[in-house]
Symmetry: D2
């Protein structure tokens, strides 16, 4: 069985630590370095006590050039603008890079710069980067050098809506995506707004009409629609650790469309996907059923009163929404079984 | 200061116990009876330990006729169909009734029977019953004998959308209401689905396209619109005790409509309402800020990209969504200050 | 009805904001200033959204001297060492001071300095300060100028153990106090350890054998015992907003002691206390029953197998453990009804 | 690689479903039947949605005799008294049985009957049953036919205290064990007391001085002490899904005993145990670090002021406290690697 060596930059954020958890359980990966700007020199298992007895290494300084010498793949779970400031042709000649930030997700650099308020330092690499939504872009991913790992909200939104947009069963301009996320999506930074007592026992929307995953969702949906798509997207913070639930609303393209056509569309695109579970009629996705796993559960209801379809999808934001999909991308890049290291049964309760 | 006597039927559910909490703190009310079918004969404070030292009475058998003899007002926080099966002209000649169930909320008895799957036993009283959404129906409430206290989701949805529908600033048929509720809304019945470990760390939609508050919202919005309105409404269960957050989406009636017109509409209808707090631009409602209180916080964002307005509103489902609004109705019925007994500052954290 | 003017220093911490909540509901108090070093000049209701429509003032710079000119009482909910560095005879000639920090709680300045690792700047005021455990020190509190408001753990521990120590029913040197606290006790500082995802779904002990409330508990118990008492005290962090539950274990002084003697001791000391609810046999305190209130629920079990008594007590750490007891002290200082502004029914669920 | 066939009786409780989760991920086990009295005939993945796409079988009626014909091992996660009513010599001649109930844990049948208030139906099998605390009884377990899988509280308590009792470093009669458990320990029965809103935001003790795990702890500790031991044990319910934290207090046998001797005792007994992680000085166990895993984290503090040691231990009540230890026992019974199927990294956050 082939094995590879991997390193992580940004290992002490929640997505980085989840990468560590998954890669430590992957039969074909040896983890070399746990790069962390903030914690370099400190024992990684002192920060993430769950890894005690699994990891004895200290965090290392995050040196991409040097990591590229030894690792077959480097994962970057870093702030926006970090990777684009240091990624070079030279690095890509030595190692594969899977980036969990947004730096190479959006093909139009003006759009990126407008939504992120960051000047992009390596726009010449954007076209080459492959958008790592595995179920949609599988064949483009396999030979890539750099993967733009999708955003958590985008993954959940895209897998919900893609088949219906691509099959022209809904009117994409009517799409309203209302998403609810666990708090790990807000990261591990020490902000008052994310303290236990501030998040617990409350729900709120945030970034209304201006969340940065909006252009990413729109770009990907536009490919599916074959035309520019503009949508409403609203993220919400929910008092739970993990999980994203998307509830999406769209008008049917035609009033005669019913459950069977929509079911057929999902079946066509995802019927044989290991990580997508299409739920039977009457069953709604719940985030608890996917916790700790790379699965996406999708269900829907056709509402004859409003001529709309209500689509629902649930995933674990740290797994399929971040680290798990990154590992799935790695499996594609190196020719491993696509679900290698990702077969754990979701944890409940 | 005038005082009245009140009794509760259904005192041991969450809404009933919240009524008890509020009425015990009301300076003009004496609570006579804590009616409960399941717990009759047991000390009320043994079931709700928070009431220890406030309530020394046992729960009584719920006898409406007899309560009507002594109480100036009877609150019913009972299952659907209960009150409509026992309410009579004779009772209403003796006492006021404030009903927290849905029995008299919907004027069209066929609609009620279709959504609730219950045959209505006293349809002759439906027209007389006044829909107790205080901020909208204040003057009709004052002289009423029987109040249909609104549903929790309906209150939050209506107060969000009413001014914009009434002022024709949005296209009502485009309205999508995505609501998130704390688990106390599911009641105190011993169901596996509502166990701690089943609800905790998860989000789900339920009753999609068929929740019973839908026709109630539609009927009330139709009055505002002056025409029949059909909407999408989706409730979600959130892992928290209290709170409803509504996020509502609607297309602007006209692309020139901006923040100021919408603000003016809210100001016109709610600018002087004690219990409605209109939030400044950039502030989104959060359920934590209204916990334990009768307040409704409302905010909105106009999205020029989609020509939609995103309206958000937060309330406490047990207070403004149930018991608090019932007390507010009682205050109107008896000529008390409308906020009597309802002035507590929300509890945070 | 007499009224007074009050100001707060440290109004934007959880204890300070809780003081604001309680004082805003107090019929005899006008709140003048919301002092906050970090948020001076910002609208208080923008930080604590629950106070919107109740407070229109900005936070002020915390100037004790100037506050003393206008306020009849100043509450300080400030870091250890802050008040002792600025409190003067001159201030105390103008206003009463109720201090929620530990600065004047411990009579022995060496003990204070050893446990807090702070040099005390005004040791000459320590003797004058009255330890504000109202149920024990009521008469000393009334005429005081400066009140050392007890710690949250200390209040819960003392009220649990005091009668049994004072009546010599237990052997104080065998006392083991195991306490569980909600996370608001950790304050509102932006620390990684207190983020939602770090606290949620976990329990831990902290400060084992060295928590700063230990000497405070020991000093107060020593007064009761009439001799020096050394105890084991272990605080734990629990995934909830509010509440402290103390479970205390002690060997009976004599094997013949049974439930009735212990009950009699609690009855003797606390039988007529408004804020102490002595639970009947078989009922254990639960923090949910005291949330948002100044009540302390106390229960116990005599274990004939081990000849120990297991005492349990629950309170709300922000109310009876901090702001509520501070208001109770204020009521004593100004001759108000001791429960004025503190009569709200606990909020459940 | 040898493989075996396993069946579960009581598969739809939390411990049973956790067994399913672990066995589905075990490389040497095929799961045959998901026995459930309540859900026989219903799809298992319809009850536990996390298992969708892993399990396509329906729940079966729980027939021990018939399961024994086909399965190499049968796990019983059933109510107290169930297995002892049906287990026979004939069954044990055909299959191994690992019982997660208390039926065969206590050697003295009078003690069992007194604490459980159940008449034991097969006392003749009690002596043969091996108490499956793997780290202590490993060699006795390997050849056994029936394993009494330890209680969750007992496992955590025993692993905390065993080395110190066995090495006579503490006085066992002074041992006070204060335990905090997640709510999954209360099972999946539809009881009002375990509803989300009843458990959330609260802490309470229960079963004080009479919890059924007490005699089990005492029996096992008595073996270690070489004499009868009586202890104080108090369980608490915490608002979290999984996890037990034990905080145990005991007087040192001798005042000269310090950290190094205690550390040496733990090292002697557990230094080479895969599933026990002995924490360095200054680190306290936290349940979050063991979630979803079979690990037990142990730490302690010697308190020179009180001459006590405070021991802390954390485990996942559904894994090491139930299903994981059951799998560990199975691995011992069949000669598999002791950690086979149990190597997943704990899930955080």
């Amino acid at each position: 069985m082939d094995t590879i060596k991997a390193s992580i930059i940004g290992a002490t954020g929640y997505a980085g630590a989840e990468l560590a958890r998954l890669l430590l359980g992957h039969p074909q990966v040896t983890l070399l370095e746990y790069g962390s700007k903030s914690y370099a020199g400190q024992p990684f298992a002192g920060i993430y006590g769950n890894l005690r007895s699994f990891v004895r290494e200290d965090c290392s300084a995050p040196e991409l050039d040097q990591m590229a010498e030894e690792a077959d793949v480097v994962f970057t779970a870093t702030p926006q603008g970090y990777l684009s400031g240091i990624l070079t042709e030279d690095v890509l000649n030595k190692t594969k890079v899977i980036d969990l930030s947004a730096d190479y997700r959006i093909k139009d650099v003006q759009t990126y710069e407008a939504w992120y308020q960051i000047s992009h330092k390596s726009p010449q690499l954007i076209q080459e980067a492959v958008y790592g939504l595995c179920e949609i872009n599988r064949e483009k991913i396999r030979p890539a050098r750099v993967i733009a790992n999708p955003g958590c909200y985008t993954t959940c939104s895209m897998l919900s809506a893609y088949p219906l947009v691509a099959e022209k069963l809904i009117r994409p301009e009517t799409l309203v995506i209302d998403a609810k996320s666990g708090t790990s999506g807000a990261g591990r930074g020490a902000k008052t707004a994310n303290l236990y007592c501030e998040v617990n026992e409350s729900m709120k929307a945030y970034g209304v009409a201006r969340h940065r995953h909006t252009p990413e969702i729109e770009e990907q949906l536009s490919y599916a629609a074959g035309k520019d798509v503009v949508i409403s997207f609203t993220p919400h913070l929910a008092p739970m650790n993990r999980g994203i639930l998307v509830t999406a609303y769209a008008s049917l393209a035609d009033e005669t469309i019913g459950r069977s056509q929509i079911e057929a569309a999902y079946e066509k695109y995802f019927g044989s996907e290991y990580f997508i579970r299409l739920l039977p009629e009457g069953v709604c996705p719940e985030t608890r059923w996917v916790e700790g796993s790379n699965f996406v559960d999708i269900g829907f209801v056709v509402d004859p009163r409003t001529k709309r379809v209500v689509i629902m999808a649930a995933l674990d934001n740290l797994v399929k929404g971040a680290a798990g999909q990154a590992v799935q991308n790695m499996n594609l890049l190196f020719g491993f079984a696509e679900n290698a290291g990702l077969q754990a049964v979701p944890l409940f309760p």
